[in-house]
């Protein structure tokens, strides 16, 4: 039942865990041994010398400070590792995931769709952009040592680089109702060439192209087209830019912002515009929103995406 180390940081996480495990085992075994020794040595009736010690400041300080210093070492190490785990590289390839009771739906930028499966290439950093259509779920691939909750009305992100071809379990870790235990799938890691072939075989209409069609069909272009008479922002070069809001604050136009602008337009209103954009909540599924977001991202992207 050994768990494969199939992502770039699996060895690091295991290393940290094993070190702490060794340290803890040492202390537990130490406490256990000392107790057994005391139990034998000081059981009633033995002739062992009995000290009347009731407390000792030096001893108390030692066993407060030594663990403290050790823990701080481990703490520093964890922070260092965690910052790495949280920061996706710039070239990470986005893949979109929508969770619902009780399945995982995956959309690749090229329009490939999968259910309860995720195909990824070896060696390429992947950034999952995830949202849920109903309750909270959690995307969990033990072999990669990654897990991320997937929330309704919000995008969460998870990135990894797979290092070993193979098929790995995908579980839902957050309790999500009756068939939570059945909400599982697999992650198929393929050599880059195989992956390219797979993409080709499953190519559909690109996600952005689907979005473009929706953009026209839903009447977005009626307001957002530069030619339209409505006073609405042009959406060119929006993704990755900083948008001033009507309440005076600023926000980075990331995927979450685009998502919220479509479903909850009243939440953040762009400065200088009237809040006339209708909400598409209830009219659009999360998958349609992802297609729209993918489309908006193709309409020019600020070159340096601030982190």
């Amino acid at each position: 039942m050994t768990l494969p180390q199939a992502s770039s940081f699996a060895p690091n996480v295991d290393h940290l865990f094993d070190t702490l495990l060794a340290l803890c085992t040492l202390v537990v075994v130490g406490v256990f041994t000392v107790m057994i020794v005391f139990c034998v040595k000081y059981r009633r009736g033995t002739s062992a010398e009995r000290t009347p010690a009731r407390s000792h400041l030096g001893v108390e300080l030692t066993w407060t400070l030594v663990p403290f210093v050790l823990f701080m070492g481990i703490f520093g190490w964890s922070v260092h590792l965690w910052i790495r785990l949280r920061t996706p590289p710039k070239d990470a390839q986005p893949i979109y995931v929508v969770a619902k009771q009780w399945m995982w739906k995956v959309q690749h930028p090229g329009g490939q769709r999968e259910i309860d499966q995720l195909h990824v290439p070896v060696g390429q950093p992947i950034r999952l952009v995830m949202t849920s259509q109903d309750v909270i779920h959690s995307f969990y691939v033990p072999a990669f040592r990654v897990k991320q909750d997937v929330l309704p009305d919000r995008y969460t992100e998870l990135w990894f680089t797979a290092t070993q071809a193979g098929t790995y379990h995908l579980f839902c870790a957050e309790f999500c109702g009756t068939d939570h235990s059945r909400m599982r799938g697999e992650v198929v890691v393929m050599a880059p060439a195989d992956y390219a072939r797979w993409l080709q075989a499953h190519a559909g209409i690109g996600l952005a192209a689907q979005g473009a069609a929706l953009f026209r069909r839903l009447g977005c272009s009626g307001c957002h087209d530069p030619q339209s008479g409505v006073h609405a922002p042009s959406l060119e070069n929006l993704y990755g830019s900083t948008v001033p809001l009507s309440d005076g604050s600023q926000v980075l136009a990331d995927e979450r912002y685009l998502h919220d602008s479509i479903l909850l337009p009243k939440k953040q209103v762009a400065a200088g515009y009237a809040p006339i954009m209708p909400s598409f909540e209830g009219r659009l599924g999360e998958e349609d929103v992802l297609a729209l977001v993918a489309y908006l991202k193709t309409r020019g992207t600020q070159t340096e995406k601030p982190e």
Binding site: V31, C39, R54, W82, A143, D149, L151, T178
Partner: protein, 538 residues
């Protein structure tokens, strides 16, 4: 004052009311109410335990075996709620009710009628909650943490919310009573720093209860209004946020886990010195450690939420605070061990449970520490590793301490010795099977098995089967416990002396066994030598 004193004196001759109804339903006597709490807790322990047997039976083999997934989810939810709010917490309140007045030389609790009310609310709260299992539409099945939006899908939400309100009111009243008793009713000469550690631990726990039970009540009330009154606290479409619930819940939830362990620390700090025939090592350090754990427990809540995606700085802060809390916890463990150093040890059942507590609680504390590291928790959150962690701290921690305390004080309560042989049988069976039950769950978690699932991948089959076998046998072992108690109360012929244990110090051992219905009607004259901590300089 003079009048009150004569009145009490008068009562003492009467003893307990002879009418069953008057005695048990209208009781204002701390001992009788303590007994009621303990009986309630033991009952809940078996009810919650039977739910656990259903869970382990279903998990005996992979695939769906016995029950429907929805029923399984009801079982995990109810098991947790019943064990936490029905078994562990009332057990501590029962022990506190019985022992605190005896330990500080008070005639009764400060607010005896409220005491009656705090107890008698509980059966109604549980009837309300458990009745949902028999209703059309089923009981709550969203987990004891009741995260929205999932919990909002349940039809029985309102029942659980009202049950929790009632339990919260009961706990808060109990806590107020304990604080009032400890602060106002100590016999002259019982200074705060001469109190037994158990009394200290309850005093601090009571403050925690008053601080966080209203928070839980608030959180579940927001669920209720979200579901039935159109608010959007946790609904993003209306401007709310489901993650807000988790913050509020765990702001209650983490102090809550300490509410379930601090009184346990207190019990262990009574038992180990008694059977080591030596005062506790570092009395003040012990009290200080309890207080600092209680304080820190308010600033670690988000370690339950590392996988939600919090801002980086927040995650690092909560990781730091959580690791910090392990330090005073470690101090306590080291102090217990040092108490045995140079003692004169005997190993009666209470001491055996206490020794097992020290080792096994330490294991649970360390698995907690591992989960405190965000990169590790990122992997192990919501897996069986967490299940193993909290069962080590709650079963071999809190429950073992309660069992230890029960054996320790039972002769004082009923006036007869329990059977030491069967007590030891109970101990050895429990300690072996509990490890067969929970230790393999660490491996399941490390291999990636998520928690709260009725069906699992065949890769996890072996350890689950071992765990289930341990579970059934641990469950069966608890019948011995029941047998020992019934035997001691009704059948044992062996009279208990006043000072039941040779090494025991403290006021509770100066009254007869069984403790008469009214004790310390006149405040006792305290000799420092009678107290465990009468001459504390350390």
């Amino acid at each position: 004052m003079a009048h009150a004193a004569t009145h009490d004196h008068h009562d003492e001759h009467h003893g307990a009311p002879s009418n069953f109804f008057t005695r048990w339903f209208m009781s204002t006597n701390h001992k009788d109410i303590g007994t009621l709490y303990l009986i309630f807790s033991l009952t809940a322990f078996f009810v919650g335990g039977s739910f656990a047997m259903v869970i382990r039976a279903e998990l005996f083999k992979p695939g769906m075996q016995l029950v429907q997934p929805y029923f399984f989810n009801e079982m995990t939810t109810m098991h947790a709620l019943v064990m936490i709010f029905g078994a562990i917490m009332p057990a501590f309140v029962g022990l506190g009710n019985w022992m605190i007045p005896l330990m500080i030389g008070a005639p009764d609790m400060a607010l005896p009628r409220m005491n009656n009310l705090s107890f008698w609310i509980l059966p109604f709260a549980f009837a309300l909650m458990l009745s949902t299992l028999f209703m059309h539409g089923g009981g709550p099945a969203g987990g004891w943490t009741m995260y929205p939006p999932l919990s909002l899908q349940s039809d029985s939400l309102a029942y659980v919310v009202f049950a929790i309100h009632l339990m919260g009111i009961s706990s808060i009243m109990g806590a107020i009573n304990i604080i009032a008793t400890i602060l106002n009713m100590r016999a002259p000469g019982m200074d705060l720093l001469k109190m037994p550690v158990f009394v200290w631990s309850w005093l601090i726990t009571a403050f925690l209860l008053i601080a966080v039970m209203p928070v839980l009540a608030g959180a579940v009330t927001m669920l209720l209004t979200d579901k039935y009154f159109g608010t959007s606290f946790f609904n993003a479409a209306g401007g709310g946020d489901p993650v807000l619930y988790q913050h509020v819940f765990w702001f209650f939830g983490h102090p809550e886990v300490y509410i379930m362990i601090l009184p346990a620390f207190g019990i262990i700090s009574e038992v180990i010195p008694t059977f080591s025939r030596k005062p506790i090592f570092g009395y003040k350090a012990m009290v200080f450690a309890i207080a600092s754990i209680a304080f820190l427990s308010f600033i670690v809540w988000a370690h339950h939420m590392f996988a939600v995606g919090l801002p980086l700085g927040a995650e690092i802060f909560f990781m730091y605070a959580t690791m910090l809390i392990a330090v005073p916890t470690g101090v306590k463990v080291f102090n217990w061990v040092s108490t045995m150093w140079g003692g004169s040890l005997t190993f009666e059942t209470p001491m055996l449970f206490a020794i097992a507590f020290v080792i096994l609680f330490t294991i649970g504390g360390f698995s907690g520490l591992m989960l405190a590291l965000v990169p590790a928790d990122f992997q192990y959150h919501d897996t069986y590793f967490v299940v193993a962690h909290f069962h080590y701290v709650l079963v071999t921690g809190a429950a073992f301490a309660i069992m230890s305390g029960t054996y320790y004080w039972l002769p004082k309560w009923c006036g007869h010795m329990y059977s030491e042989f069967w007590g030891k049988m109970h101990f050895w069976n429990s300690v072996v099977w509990v490890n067969v039950l929970f230790f393999p769950q660490h491996f399941l978690g490390l291999a990636g098995m998520p928690r709260r699932i009725p069906d699992y991948n065949v890769a996890f089959a072996n350890f689950n089967m071992i765990s289930s076998i341990g579970g059934f046998l641990f469950g069966a072992s608890q019948l011995i416990f029941l047998g020992v108690i019934i035997h001691a109360v009704f059948f044992s012929k062996k009279k208990a002396p006043d000072r039941v244990w040779e090494g025991a110090r403290g006021l509770e051992w100066t009254v007869p066994s069984p403790a008469p219905h009214h004790t310390f009607a006149l405040p006792p004259v305290i000799h420092d030598d009678e107290l465990a901590h009468g001459h504390v300089e350390d």
